[in-house]
Symmetry: C2
Subunit: 158 residues, 2 copies
DNA sequence: CTACGTGCAAAAGATTTGCATTCGA
DNA sequence: TCGAATGCAAATCTTTTGCACGTAG
């Protein structure tokens, strides 16, 4: 059932990409569909290197340049979201599939005693953020397209 | 009056650094005080290169390595905060002085029609974020040390 | 056919590291 | 004195760019 749902989603998401490419006048290259499929088969956040290594393992030869290119397109198409975890240390950008999920935010949990190592990333969704968003739009006369909210903390051992 | 207040703050903040270095057993190097002074004389966000160039102009010779080092210390001491503006494009880390300010969040306004160029960054402070924070702490059993919230949008021309 | 997209390698930009030298305690 | 800090340059890591080649339309 789980696998079947994923298969269905895969069919859907490829169609979404097809429509997007058509509308933009971009080409239907096999790389774009293969990368999309890999991303939508994954269950977690990933960065460019993760994706590159995964595809190498599966013997799909795609260059990093193409992955970076493709990710730009997917971002524009709304097929993925970009994140920047790790407030303290510099980390590479992370991404996640976004088409079937609702917008959510992240709680980044650091290992106890370490400022650097991330132990876990938990997703959450609090409706109050919408209220803040609307207030800001009114207060400053802006249209807000998106937001990002991260909480940083540690496990509560007490 | 403005200048006088800034002078007073400078005296205070140097004392804070002195206490911090003492407590940690770190040395009182002139570089650390000079960099701190530059940061606290500034009114806006800055990145490492901004700071480096500024100090070169003023004929203070400080290497970038030392600036990076010092910034780590100031972060740990709570004298500055780190930011990562620019969700779409990669940008260098930004920093700002934090000692006399209360915690605030940011509204990043992009130039109309451009996904890349930032037109303005506005600071705001909404108390509702505290409520969300407390809910998350209870829900997931964590201690939250900090958060970052960014809204991304464009000027409302309507 | 004719660009657009890809792959590869080189370049660029931010940050980190290694090491000899300097200097604060 | 002597270990911590600094400066400089080289190294590293992520992302971007240039160019020759392949291929979708």
């Amino acid at each position: 059932m789980e696998a079947t749902q994923k298969e269905l989603n895969l069919v859907t998401i490829k169609e979404v990409l097809r429509q997007y490419l058509l509308q933009k006048g971009f080409r239907n290259t096999p790389e774009r569909y293969t990368i999309l499929e890999e991303i939508y088969m994954m269950d977690h956040h990933f960065n460019v290197d993760d994706l590159y290594l995964l595809m190498m393992q599966k013997k799909y030869h795609v260059s990093k340049a193409t992955i970076y290119n493709t990710i730009e397109i997917f971002l524009d198409a709304g097929l993925i979201r970009k994140h920047q975890f790790g407030e303290k240390t510099l980390t590479s950008s992370s991404y996640e599939k976004s088409y079937f999920d609702k917008q959510h935010d992240h709680l980044v949990i650091y290992k106890e005693g370490s400022d650097k190592e991330i132990e876990e990333i938990i997703e959450f969704c609090d409706p109050r953020i919408q209220g803040i968003k609307e207030s800001i739009e009114k207060a400053f006369g802006v249209n807000i397209d998106s937001h990002s909210l991260y909480f940083y903390g540690t496990k509560n051992n007490g």
